[in-house]
Amino acid sequence: MSELTSKTIAELRDGFDSGDFSAREIAEDFNAAVAGARALNAFTVETPDDALACADAADQARGKDKLGALAGIPLGIKDLFATKGVDSTAGSHILKGFKPPYESTVTANLRRAGAGMLGKLNMDEFAMGSSNETSHYGPVNSPWRRAGSNVALTPGGSSGGSAAAVAAGIVPGATGTDTGGSIRQPAAFTGICGIKPTYGRCSRWGVIAFASSLDQAGPMAKSIRDCAILLEAMAGFDPKDSTSLDLPVPKWEAGLSSDLKGKRVGIPKEYRIDEVPGEINALWDQGIEWLHDAGAEPIEISLPHTKYALPTYYIIAPAEASSNLARYDGVRYGLREIGVKSLDDMYGATRAAGFGEEVKRRIMIGTYVLSAGFYDAYFTKAQKVRALIKQDFRKAFEQCDIILTPTAPSAAFGLGETTDPLAMYLNDVFAVPASLAGLPAMSVPGGLDSNGLPLGLHLIGNECDEQGVLNAGLAIEDRAGFTARPEKWW
């Protein structure tokens, strides 16, 4: 890891500003790091020229024009974002060779801020997965290994490429997306920070859809400050997205403060699960201590419908996905398999060859729960329970300002270790409730388990209170002193 690649985005920005190093030097170091880390399988496409071109533009501008917030900073972009002229496949075979003639709003915002692109990051197919094993391009290898073992571990998912790349220091920061934990669980598994903002903060325009009522983009980076910097650049009202929040983007970085005096931290009693390893509950207690030390008052709260969040999610998300993924039919883009005779055959053959097992499984479930005779029993019921879950949070935030829980019920597991789909779904048991309620939530590294693997703490904020989430995260970051980085084996 070169001196530059070990820096945070804030450090790179300030060093570039004050002329300690050029944007080109930054881009070259990260390009080299990316090229040297192919064993991680973190990228689906590498775009070193893009990173260099943006760097040169930044170097040109320095001293003359006003620099963008991310001038000279190259980033990794999750393959779920449409990037103009660069393969955007959502980790799926069905989007083979798809080069969008358009740029997603979020990545366009990042480019406007001066950021370059190091490449497209590997992910679970259509963001459906928690281990990156559903990617058509094969799983991402976590840079982390259990102490004294070389068993390949998952970086988590679906934003596994983003998490692995940040943790390995081959990108200073990356975009992720989170439908039911896809930013927070991989962040926890790889010892980095990741925030899912309030639903509607980041435009979904140009982000390949999984479940429209849940999908949110967010940043993944080494520090809370870096997340604040990136989120400020990514977020913003977009008239092209009907569900976009028409609000100004707060100055989250400037607002950072780890002083939580007068704040109340809600500790949901329903999140105490016997099956969860003691180490994780212990870290949770430690997290409560840290926030208390930062001036916050811990109080027990109740989120009675929490236990129904996962089943609710696994009705609503597949239902929306089954419809969102109907457009992959071999007619206008991507893969086409010519069927035996008819158009229907072409659809069937194309989708059979183009979608992986997990995506097919979810399309099947989603199709079933929407189908005649089952709609009310499953989908309408799930929407009602979702309303109750949102109500739980509304009541909770009348008593507290922020909620603290573990991010995931376990540390990173080995690739191929979890084969039962249900067991895999349970990874997101702590992350999904905030997704269903559209609330801002983030994972911040808390420490290492007995195997030397990172564990994350999970902060949930009230609607539009990303600042509260970031500040509590900062309080934990300050006290956890988490500096562990994976041993380079790749």
Binding site: K99, P101, Y199, G200, S213, L214, T243, L245, E270, Y271, R272, I273, D274, E275, P304, T306, K307, Y308, P311, T312, Y314, I315, A326, V331, R332, Y333, R336, I338, G339, K341, S342, L343, D345, M346, Y347, G348, A349, R351, R361, M364, T367, Y368, S371, A377, Y378, T380, K381, A382, Q383, K384, V385, R386, A387, L388, K390, P421, L422, L426, V429, G438
Partner: protein, 108 residues
């Protein structure tokens, strides 16, 4: 409130058989071999059985939540701002001829 046991899977109340799964696959336009169908039946039943624990939640008088943020739908002005990008529209098409998308003959 019963103790939180997410790892306990509820018993399958409504369960699907191979013919239903075949019908769903047809609706979803995913070609599937009998082997695939047979493999999916228990998987789907396992998941469906698990989600059916929602049945125990009392949702009387609860409005289904469709939009997670309470905003009003914005409306666009009636202005032509897009189009005239035929080449972009067809650029990624597996089959395009004379400005059209081409698909296997459809018999109505």
């Amino acid at each position: 409130m019963p103790p939180f046991r997410p790892f306990v899977i509820a018993l399958v109340a409504m369960s699907v058989n191979t013919d239903q799964v075949r019908h769903i696959a047809k609706l979803a336009r995913i070609a599937m071999s009998d082997e695939e169908l047979d493999r999916l039946v228990p998987e789907l039943n396992n998941i469906l059985g698990w989600v059916e624990q929602l049945a125990e939640v009392d949702t009387d008088g609860i409005e289904p939540l469709t939009a997670v943020i309470d905003l009003k739908q914005r409306l666009r002005d009636d202005v032509v701002t897009d189009g005239d990008i035929q080449s972009d529209i067809l650029a990624n098409a597996p089959g395009a001829q004379h400005g059209f998308f081409a698909v296997p003959k459809v018999i109505e």
